[in-house]
Subunit: 211 residues, 2 copies
Amino acid sequence: MASNHENSNIPDIVIGRLPIYLRALNRLSSEGYEITSSHELGQRLGISSAQIRKDLSHFGGFGKQGTGYQIEFLQDKLRKVLHVDREWEVALVGMGDLGKAIAHYKGFADRGFHISACFDSAPDKVGKKIAGFVVQPLSELITVVSERNIQLAMIAVPAEHAQSVANLLVEAGVHGILNYAPINLTVPPHMQVQYIDPVVGLQRMTYYFDE
Amino acid sequence: MASNHENSNIPDIVIGRLPIYLRALNRLSSEGYEITSSHELGQRLGISSAQIRKDLSHFGGFGKQGTGYQIEFLQDKLRKVLHVDREWEVALVGMGDLGKAIAHYKGFADRGFHISACFDSAPDKVGKKIAGFVVQPLSELITVVSERNIQLAMIAVPAEHAQSVANLLVEAGVHGILNYAPINLTVPPHMQVQYIDPVVGLQRMTYYFDE
């Protein structure tokens, strides 16, 4: 489940840039553009045009020299490569302030993801409706997620509970976790994990600040 | 402001891993450990111990071969390198669901950051108290941020307003922006920008999923 054999020789750092390219193309498209170039994309993204051409060349030819990229064609191609030419169901665990904000976020739907189940362990949250979702008890996570074959989950619980929630998700058959808790998770090798930690982003900037 | 001359030859990708190391060390410390090793850190982080030793060697010797790292010493050193041995004030722009969740988040304080001003343009939010902050009007952003010499900001407004907010922040003298809006910002070269976009993390995982 967690492999992509046809492209398995492509560095992960390249894969990490593809969603950024797709996001920029979506933006260009929403602004009414139909054609772009590696130069224009590069300027928008602060990435060299040579890097963009090299990254995209891993997946075949997208544009002829001098004529640029057809935005819609490149969007379609990147959606296929990233497997978001379909919609993935996502489970959300933790319905505190952060979980609520995630549940309300409108930006998942048109980019390949759909939150379809929300869980929390707090008795005052379970059964309540938040952002259109009825919060389900954590004790039902394994049953619900495995029966519905949900592949992706977001963890928005406090750091001290994140690993035990991750263990439940692994048992439920999830293959990818987006972890908002500021702690590294230990998971089996077949699992994908990505982290969202604002402090990591902030510290990465202050490194470059003078004291 | 945005340079770090003594370490200017260190690849940005190495800098990006330092906050992860610091986070893991904080965790080990909170679990009562006093000594760790590149092997133990590597296992927790899914990074090779050789990579960790190489990354840390950029900043001088931290441990003797075979005796491991003194966690507290390494934490102090990394905090100095990342310039979070002090506390940075941060402005937060956008007080919708996401902004509110950020304002409530408890994880900034002990990692070098302190939200000290919140802004929104909506008349029904300005003047209200959210998470202990009185929301200030966007029209006062430049005055407040420049007078208080705030160096960092977080953007939590909808994508279509993010660039204009970034322009205000640049004018106010901010040097680093953490952007939660799913759009790339165009900023002057001296600015640092980091992005928080959950969909980028999700798409990076689904790439590795079979269809």
